[in-house]
């Protein structure tokens, strides 16, 4: 039972490189928080600072009602699951799981009970006598998860735990970790979980909330859906979502009292709600953003002005959907369409693409902030 609070946490290496620039973050008790960002964004460093494996050079970290800046990792009430499992190769699965409890001089019968309980949850009872090298990657990661579980920590820390697993295992482990979180909650001992990943799918599916990091700064902290629908800045808009949001240079113009956005391939009328937000930017250059699924590629769309004409370069068929890459005035866009609706789109031909402007985003070029929220 513990919330984790970071207060202007900084990390500067002895060579002067500043990896973390004053992070402020509040992770609620029992929350599943995901840190996501491109490589080198300091997501792992931040996690390791919470774990106490990395010194902090400024700010405070609180776990529960205790400032843990000077507290040893073992006394922070945490357990960590590492990317490459970090199982002790000379110990059996049982001893790997029991080791931490043995170190804290827990009575033997309690250790045994907890290890067997965790093994049952994770379905690794028949692996307990095996050493790590006799197990597959997925089994090792389950043992590593078990090692964290038996300690009954207040905070679970996951450092890209699924990166070394193949795609199929990753999905089942993802579900297992979520179930674990739910199970602890149901048992009345909710655990705070902090999960670092570079995989968007993991971030979007697992997190109660997601912290998007870039270059040692927090870009946005929000629920998965809000990050997707209401990115606060250009970075989050470009980072979240696959394929990523179309982001093109544009300009806000006003003609006859109406506000338009001028982008390569067309001048599009903004709906009233969006127009209000960007009226102050009339005449200024902005970044225009639209999700691929908000571009409607249909030859028989009913009228309107909000379209650009583009020539199709590539059509990628994914089965349940199609990605259409098209060029308009030298700029590339991507549309995500339902294959049932567009049967006749062919490479090399020109089509009209309707933009659902009610869902567009516009970003200030200097501050990179979203003007349309």
């Amino acid at each position: 039972m513990a919330e984790v609070v970071l207060k202007s946490v900084e990390k500067q290496y002895p060579n002067g490189f500043k990896a973390v620039h004053g992070i402020d973050l509040e992770i609620k008790d029992g929350e599943f928080m995901v840190f996501v960002g491109p490589s080198g964004c300091a997501k792992s460093t931040t996690l390791r600072m919470v774990a106490g494996l990395e010194d902090i050079t400024g700010g405070e970290i609180w776990i529960g009602d205790k400032c843990v800046n000077e507290v040893q990792p073992k006394d922070r009430g945490i357990a960590m699951v590492f990317q490459n499992y970090a199982l002790y190769p000379h110990m059996t699965a049982y001893n790997n799981m029991a080791f931490g409890l043995q170190m804290s001089k827990t009575p033997k019968n309690i250790i045994d009970q907890r290890v067997r309980e965790a093994a049952k949850h994770l379905e690794i009872e028949d692996l307990l006598d095996r050493k790590p090298k006799e197990m597959s990657g997925g089994q090792r990661q389950r043992v590593a998860l078990g090692r964290a579980l038996v300690r009954k920590p207040d905070v679970f820390l996951f450092d890209e735990p699924l990166s070394n697993l193949d795609a199929k295992l990753r999905v089942s482990m993802r579900v297992r970790i979520q179930e674990l979180h739910e199970m602890l909650k149901a048992e009345g001992v909710p655990a705070t979980m902090i999960y670092v990943t570079h995989d968007q799918v993991e971030a979007m599916t697992m997190g109660d909330r997601i912290t998007v990091l870039n270059a040692g700064r927090i870009m946005q902290v929000d629920t998965p859906m809000n990050l997707y629908r209401k990115p606060e800045n250009l970075f989050v808009a470009g980072f979240i979502g696959a394929p990523s949001m179309n982001l093109v240079d544009g300009e806000i113009v006003e003609m006859g009292g109406k506000v338009f956005v001028s982008i390569p391939g067309g001048v599009l009328p903004l709906p009233e709600e969006k127009a209000e937000k960007v009226r102050s930017h009339v005449g200024k250059k902005i970044k225009f953003g639209l999700r691929p699924e908000d571009i409607i590629a249909n030859e028989v769309h009913e009228g309107g002005e909000g379209f650009v004409t583009g020539s199709v370069r590539v059509v990628e068929q994914m089965g349940n959907e199609e990605f259409i890459y098209f060029n308009a005035a030298g700029t590339q866009f991507i549309a995500r369409v339902n294959p049932e609706q567009v049967k006749n789109i062919r490479k090399g031909e020109d089509y009209r693409f309707w933009f659902n402007l009610a869902k567009c985003h516009m970003f200030d070029l200097e501050t990179e902030e979203n003007l349309t929220l």
């Binding site: 774990a51 040893q72 073992k74 960590m80 590492f82 970090a86 002790y88 931490g100 170190m103 090692r147």
Partner: protein
């Protein structure tokens, strides 16, 4: 040609081809084994001769080329063991082990600690210190003999085993330190971090996590040190002056010039005995030793 004939023909061809391949493989491996056995025997011949000669009479040693003695004569072993001094070889063997065992133990401990420091901790001037350590690898041992002798003399340590053992407690064997450091670098740091979270302090990380993983490397260190110390001649020769304290290597030499007439069968018999401990230890530790020099101990 119908289908059945065709299949038969293919099967026959297949069989013929396979037989030819098998024959060629047989000839190949036969040849290979022959060459290897021949060269192996050639290399081992001196040792085999030594073993045979230890059972020969003194006169026969220099008169026959073959390694099989005309009759098995154990007098070389019996008389050699008694030696021409007032002590038997039992004393000398005990003396050797009085040097070897403590030296191996302190070497393993000091080397592990030093390597741990170099491999895992931030120490001011670490790079410089490490380069000095490596530089000592290149320094011929002989140039140190005189200053060391003077130093140990002023400590009043001459004619004791201390000059032979104590330096090893300070990880002077740079080669071992280097070897263990290389091993340690191959161990992922995650393991130690996991152990830290599990509640280990630095020393516990070393003893509970690293040392078990390093076992093959540490066994190699112990084995090398055992054999080298066992065979060390110059060290004891310089520092040990009383016969009572001689180790096997010096005692062997002594049996060669104790009297005008050298009993070669005794010298040879004792050489064979002197080889035994190293051989036994090597074969006991062989599996780990090979692991130690071929892998870093961690896979997948």
């Amino acid at each position: 040609m119908n289908e059945q004939d065709r299949k038969k023909l293919i099967a026959e061809n297949d069989l013929r081809l396979r037989k030819r391949l098998a024959r060629r493989n047989g000839i190949n491996s036969g040849l290979r084994y022959f060459v290897l056995t021949f060269v192996g025997l050639l290399m081992l011949y001196p040792l085999i001769w030594l073993l045979g000669a230890s059972f020969k009479s003194n006169a026969e040693i220099f008169t026959s080329i073959g390694f099989l003695p005309s009759s098995f004569d154990f007098s070389g072993y019996v008389n050699g063991w008694k030696t021409s001094t007032e002590y038997t070889f039992t004393t000398y063997f005990i003396n050797t082990f009085k040097i070897v065992i403590p030296k191996v133990i302190v070497t393993v401990i000091s080397v592990t600690l030093t390597a741990y420091g170099f491999a895992r901790f931030k120490i001011p001037g670490k790079k410089f210190l490490f380069s000095i350590l490596i530089a000592t690898l290149l320094l011929p041992n002989l140039v140190l003999r005189i200053p060391q002798y003077i130093m140990f003399n002023s400590f009043n340590w001459l004619d004791s085993y201390k000059p032979l053992i104590v330096p090893s407690a300070f990880a002077v064997d740079a080669f071992f330190v280097f070897m263990v450091i290389q091993f340690m670098r191959g161990i992922p740091k995650d393991l130690e971090e996991a152990a830290t979270i599990d509640g280990c302090n630095s020393i516990q990380v070393l003893t509970k996590i690293l040392m078990p993983i390093l076992k093959p490397a540490l066994i190699s260190v112990a084995l090398f040190q055992f054999m080298w110390t066992m065979n060390d001649f110059l060290g004891p020769l310089i520092y040990i002056s009383s016969v009572r304290k001689y180790p096997v290597s010096i005692a062997l030499k002594m049996s060669m010039d104790a009297s005008a007439l050298v009993h070669w069968n005794q010298v040879i018999a004792l050489s064979v005995i002197a080889l035994v401990p190293s051989l036994v230890v090597f074969f006991l530790a062989q599996r780990h030793f090979v692991d130690g020099i071929t892998s870093s101990g961690i896979k997948g």
